[in-house]
């Protein structure tokens, strides 16, 4: 899966070294990645721009702010706008997280393309 091109019947010392190096690099990137993941802020503005929402990569809402015109269309319209803005913020955060994951993989395994969305979906369906 990670493009080792190892021949199990003939593992050379340089293969082991290369595996060790990649392993160390992955661990480094995971630590760094985790930090950067925690700093991600996704933003969403609804479709009328009166509600502004921000969310972290794990989906947690950070802040929701309203402008003066947000209340003009009534409470139902406001509720819908809030739902939309939050969803957009979460999707934006997810996109940033996917980009981070993709670039981390590319650094750890150069030359191998990885689709984070596919990886995520496979993980979710693992138990099916």
């Amino acid at each position: 899966m990670f493009g080792f091109d190892l021949d199990p019947g003939d593992i050379r010392p340089q293969d082991v070294d290369r595996a060790d190096e990649q392993n160390a690099r992955v661990l480094e990137l995971l630590a760094e990645g985790e930090e950067r993941l925690g700093e991600i802020v996704g933003a969403g503005g609804g479709d009328r721009g009166h509600v502004h929402a921000t969310a972290a990569a794990d989906g947690r809402v950070l802040k929701i702010t309203l402008d003066a015109r947000a209340v003009r269309e009534g409470s139902q319209a406001l509720a819908d706008e809030i739902l939309l803005a939050v969803r957009q913020a979460q999707q934006d955060a997810q996109r940033q997280a996917d980009d981070l994951l993709r670039s981390a993989f590319e650094q750890a395994f150069p030359g191998r393309a990885v689709d984070p969305v596919a990886v995520r979906e496979r993980l979710v369906n693992l138990l099916d």
Partner: protein, 131 residues
């Protein structure tokens, strides 16, 4: 020397334990998909509902809440939404911890000795019995 009948029993046990663990994990997945967390603010005038993955599934605002100034209203909405997500996360955490506990009894991986004994035994049978 390894006994094929004991090995067969052991294998059956491994299969059963794994199936059981998978069943618990799938059940947990189902429960997580059904989790709902609710949050309130502004004396109940603002209510929010979130699912097990943190997705906001519902927001209800009492028209009286619109009398609040906009900055305060925003803060209250934020609080309700965060409370809903927190409750959903807590419920999901409980399900996961419970499932991990139940699924925890997965069989030990076969060690080198286990495998070597059986390979040697099979090799001996081949040389003495087969030809």
């Amino acid at each position: 020397m390894p006994d094929p009948r004991e090995d067969r029993l052991y294998l059956d046990q491994v299969v059963d334990q794994t199936r059981s663990a998978m069943r618990h994990l799938r059940e947990a997945q189902r429960q997580i998909a059904a989790v709902e967390g609710t949050g309130e603010a502004a004396q109940g005038m603002i209510r929010a509902v979130a699912d097990g993955r943190g997705t906001l599934t519902g927001v209800k605002i009492d028209p009286r809440a619109l009398r609040l100034d906009v900055a305060r209203l925003g803060a209250e909405v934020t609080a309700a939404v965060q409370a809903a997500q927190e409750e959903a996360a807590r419920r999901t955490g409980d399900i996961v911890a419970d499932a991990a506990g139940r699924a925890g009894t997965l069989p030990e991986p076969l060690d080198e000795r286990f495998v070597r004994d059986r390979v040697e035994s099979a090799a001996r049978e081949l040389y003495t019995g087969g030809l």
